[in-house]
Subunit: 134 residues, 2 copies
Amino acid sequence: MNSNDLKNVGLKVTLPRMRILEILERSEGEHYTAEDVYRLLLDAGEEIGLATVYRVLTQFEAAGLVNRHHFEGGHAVFELNRGSHHDHMVSLKSGKVVEFVDDIIEERQQQIAKEHGFKITGHTLILYGEFEDE
Amino acid sequence: MNSNDLKNVGLKVTLPRMRILEILERSEGEHYTAEDVYRLLLDAGEEIGLATVYRVLTQFEAAGLVNRHHFEGGHAVFELNRGSHHDHMVSLKSGKVVEFVDDIIEERQQQIAKEHGFKITGHTLILYGEFEDE
DNA sequence: AACTATATGCCAAAGATTCTCATTTCGGGC
DNA sequence: GCCCGAAATGAGAATCTTTGGCATATAGTT
């Protein structure tokens, strides 16, 4: 249940926050820009400010509800944190994004960090290229 | 030799380009922002425009002389392409960056791409965290 | 040395994100 | 259910990073 997600992370349950959460939940696998979320809400007839979208997304990120990525191009995209960590494969042709996980890679990362006396708090692995069928 | 690097990639050998190349060559392992490069040049008494720095860095990237990364924070950083591909370990505490390569990971990436009918043209792997001794 | 295509500098402009502040809304207590 | 203080929101200004336009300067050639 939505409102509980917010309460659980210590955020007041407000309309804009609920709406933004819904947008993110509804989007299977899509990676939205703050602007995207804003537009989607406007199109849905909601009254919301772009600044609020940015603020809320940042709060969600801090609360661990959302992940922020920087794909090529530089602007940030957001996606709901559905618990399971994953990496990305991004088509530079179509922008299509596929997610994946590989235990061997995850394990090697830990191993490498250990060798360097490094404690990993997060990581990003993005493969750029294109799909054969596009 | 510097000027040849430029000629080889079809760029006219100009003073600003040489200076920027020098800055990048001199920086062992540092990752500079366009602004950083600009400041370093100004501090060194060079007369250069920020726009030129951006233009040149972009040209260098297109020519394969430098790599552009997007670490957390959103702004782009550049480093000289010294031939060998590598990944990064970034300390969120100090900003320190260590480079590494792991054949097993590289190989798994190819394998995963293959399974998804994806042709990799580039990739980014960044581990975020902090070093034990800081 | 002269010529032409390119590159550069400066400054304006665009895009993304953050800040300010007056107004509105949430959540708890009465 | 209504009131109050704290927190959140909306609108627009402000900031930061990056790009574009244009007149001038420069590299490379003849």
